[in-house]
Symmetry: C2
Subunit: 280 residues, 2 copies
């Protein structure tokens, strides 16, 4: 399991921005991920922040577009950039950008043709954390999770389900109520089948109402996000308010859905995670 | 001349990261550029830093990969990201990555088939600054210039030739002695012809010896840059020392030629330009 191939390593802000691949047991294909290790990792295990990316992205987008390494290096924190789906010629795919490769939606698919490889839920919450803690100087007890768009959905659902594994939580423009959105219903039907009750475990707004998260959830959402009707931030805000979940939900005036939005607010997110993980 | 098309604008760190195009008179084709305007530009003309990119790049690479907008916004400074060559079906090209489109080398070509469009020297030093000062709230008397690799070559040669237009100067891993390098001789022969004397005006090491620059030149170079033999930093360092040019030449241990190197040292470069431009 622990054969990690180094694809490339770049020195970056005194640390190392690497890209690695490994044969994933749960996804049954070679998976690529980015990992930024700050200089502080030379001296021992460091906290890490997981960044889950959105539709059409790979491990690379957030790694090259958010400028997050500067802030992570300042806080002595690692950054993990997983891919968004299994990949390869043997892996099922679809011609739509929002289904199949690049669109794993962070679930374990139960339906054909997806169930053979699409197990991003297990991959992100179990397999990759175990692999990284074994192979790199990361503190498995001090991990936070965030993400953008589909990755914000993944971060919120995985974070709320495994608060002991991910001790801090935030999201950028998350798909916030996928059971009620065309970004969600289509994919859940394909990956999870027609029983809509099974979808609710993958809907952040439902999870907030069901059990929430034992810490503050930080969310940023651009007011000029062209996908806002698909993201459904209002459902999540309503759920947060109804359950009195500790949260900061920021509507950012004039910002869209791009990485220019993400890069603008990543400093506050990394600060949020660093503060929450300190001493954990 | 002043028809600037807005291709896209993103809010970013309180300012605006835009991408625009216009019909270039000197390049005789549609040219695209990126422009970051900080929030401070609402209140009046701001200083600007020009970032010239390297081989194979467009206006986009530095705009999305350097994280420079954060630092520019802090200093109330605009960022200009020009393209690296003329583009289009009518524009001459070559199958090599280092000649033709994406490889303009910041010269005015005199030789066929390049002379019709490849006039990046005039474009960067005259046409685009005039257009930007006319169309956007930029202070034409407060401009600095930097760049990476081929763009570092462009920044150094244009900066040293027009110190009144570019009042601060720096470079990341510049092609520093192109008249003696395979990154230079091939292109200068194609673009400028066989008279090597004409090449010297486009060689930073020659220009330092000839007249230098009336201010401090800041240069960063990675020690593990795989292209170091093509970049020839030693020739430039020797010339800087021989002419007692005010300069800071930093060898950065373990860094390579990538944008992870650039992003790691852009904070210091923007600080350098902001300090030099303050009050100019």
């Amino acid at each position: 399991m622990n054969r990690v191939k180094t694809l490339v390593e770049h020195r970056c802000f005194g640390g190392t921005q690497g890209v690695y691949s490994h044969q994933s047991e749960c996804c049954r294909c070679e998976m690529t991920f980015g990992l930024f290790l700050p200089d502080a990792a030379k001296d021992g295990r460091v906290p890490s922040l997981w960044f889950l990316s959105g539709l059409t992205c790979t491990h690379e987008n957030a790694m090259i577009k958010t400028g997050a390494q500067y802030w992570a290096s300042r806080h002595g924190m690692a950054l993990v950039f997983p891919d968004t789906s299994p990949r390869g010629e043997d892996v099922a795919d679809h011609s739509d950008y929002d289904l199949g490769q690049g669109a794993g939606f962070y679930v374990n698919a139960t339906e054909t043709p997806w169930s053979g490889h699409f197990r991003m839920w297990d991959y992100v919450s179990e397999e990759l954390p175990a692999l990284l803690a074994d192979r790199f100087p990361l503190d498995p007890g001090s991990q936070g999770i965030t993400g953008h768009s589909m990755g914000g959905h993944g971060a919120l659902t995985i974070g709320m389900t495994f608060p002991d594994r991910f001790r801090s939580l935030s999201a950028f423009a998350p798909i916030a109520n996928p059971t009620q959105s065309d970004w969600g219903r289509k994919q859940f039907k394909a990956y999870l089948g027609g029983n809509e009750d099974a979808w609710k475990a993958h809907d952040a707004s439902h999870l907030v109402a069901r059990h929430g998260y034992p810490g503050k959830i930080l969310i940023d959402q651009g007011s000029k996000d062209p996908f806002i009707d698909l993201l459904c931030p209002k459902a999540l805000e309503t759920a947060l308010a109804a359950s009195r979940q500790e949260a900061g939900f920021h509507h950012r005036s004039g910002y869209d859905h791009s990485y220019f939005f993400v890069m603008s607010f990543i400093p506050g997110h990394i600060q949020h995670h660093a503060a929450a993980l300190k001493g954990s």
